[in-house]
Amino acid sequence: MASNFVIMGLPASGKTTFLAALWHLVEAEETTSRLKLDKYEGDLSYLNRIAQAWRTFQKVPRTSQVGDVNVTIHLADRETEAKGAALFPDLAGETFDGQVEARRCRPEFVEAVANDDGILFFITADLKGEGMSVLELNSLMPTDDVGLLGADIAENRGEQEQAPPVAMDEWAPKKIPAQVRVVQILSDLLRPPFEPKLRRLAIIISAWDLTDGSGLEPQAWLNTHMPLVSQFLRSNEASFIYRAYGVSAQGVNLENRAAVDQMAEQPVPSRRIRVVGPKEDGHDLTAPLVWLMSKE
């Protein structure tokens, strides 16, 4: 097993937190995971630092703060006993923003994607409500109240006075909604300079704990909240074999001190992790990697 995984995703989509939790999981062996750490060697400073932040409930520093980092983890499959090195070129999310906005990418990325055995594409479940139309926004406003309020204001101002003009924003590439960015980044893989081939793609929906209560499975979440991405993947089955996973690698909202205190009492840190997939619901963060390496 010699596997090259490419990690892709927009800024703050949970890429580095995933790596931090994965490193802790396979190194600590507190819970059962299909893949285990095979060798503890090489330059582990980056992995140890991000895992330290993860273990101590600090925000895992984003890749953009230290530049692009290539990470190699030596893994072994407990079932097949296959061994190999998993390479994760951990590119900053800003790199992918630049790909959409400035229409350029790093040559290393083109090379990594040409040799990949699977892509981990991160999408955060922490959505910002982008892409809403003016009409959709207006329909949410209590029209009667607005009308009455507007009448009162007009009365107070006097009939001659006009409402101040509303400042309108100019379009810029940074205004593109996340789901459109994701589709653009995946679409780019279908054209030069990227090599056309059938790719295995694990869609990792991070911050999955935020979806608690929605009752949605990861694929259904994608259909509902990222419909353009879902349609694109379904209709490009000649280019992508994909599965959607919900991952809560942090396991807790770091802003919620009470929840952090409670989680810190958990004797097995690896149990902070939650992975939900088509066949999985547990703590094994290696499940998407196992699927990427499989023939399914």
């Binding site: 630092r49 009409l135 309108m168 589709v183 679409s187 780019d188 209709s235 952090v260």
Partner: protein
Amino acid sequence: MTDELDRDDADTDVFETAGVGQTKETDNRWVELPPASMLTVEDADELLRWREASIIAIVGERNGGKTTLVVELYERFLRGPFAGTLFSHSLSVLGFERKSFQSRAESGAEKPDTPRTSTQDGLRFFHLAVSDEHLRRTDLLISERAGETYREVRDRPAGARDIVEVCKARTVVFILDGERVANPRQRAEAIASIRHLARAFTESNAISSHCEIQAVTTKWDLLRTDASAPAQKALDEFEKYFIATYSSRYAKVSVFRVAARDPEGVVEVGFGLAPLLRSWLEPVPQAAVTALPIPLLADEFDRLLARRLG
């Protein structure tokens, strides 16, 4: 416990030896990616060299709602499958986004709008590929050109054959501005505009006989009330004229009424767009193959071949 956490926050800096915050900006090696804005004629030609695509020419004078119609098609796919199809691909995502922005809440606009298409932009295309339930893909190249250019064709029909998107179209969509039809003082002129354009392109033989032509009335939200009965009657009559005049001339003639985006929010967004999109995806009418006259076969080898072929 909270105090302990605070102390940890203060004491631990996991990147204190790693130069935190020093983003690597010295690496200037980049690979350029293909543009994702609207396609030029050259871009469209390049696409057509490796993939079949239907050209949909959207024709009409300024402010008729040509761009809004196309942009709202794209917006429907941002919300889910549309017209029984899935979004499959677009080479002009940034072009769609730029034209969509003024209809988005993020723009700060109180009412949705669409930026005007400038004459200086010349001819551009939106690219939209969709797949049906069997994942059969159809690519559309939808034209985008300023209405002033079509006004010139109306005034000088000799220029019709220079409008390349019409000459190469699978479907020519003549836009009838519903807002002007709703206005009694502008109604006759609005109808005259589409009538003249259809006539100019037809009489100059700019449109292939294998093409489908459509009269699409936009802003239907302004025409649907009882108060608009005279406008509706005029529209009914025009649509009958359009079908009767061109049915024998083209492979298919059809009429549609759409309200891509009712600013008042009364009519559902994208009203009438689904059947319009489906009509663009139907198989292109096949050209009739006319048997070419065979020249007199005087050569012995030709005659031998003719005998063997029976």
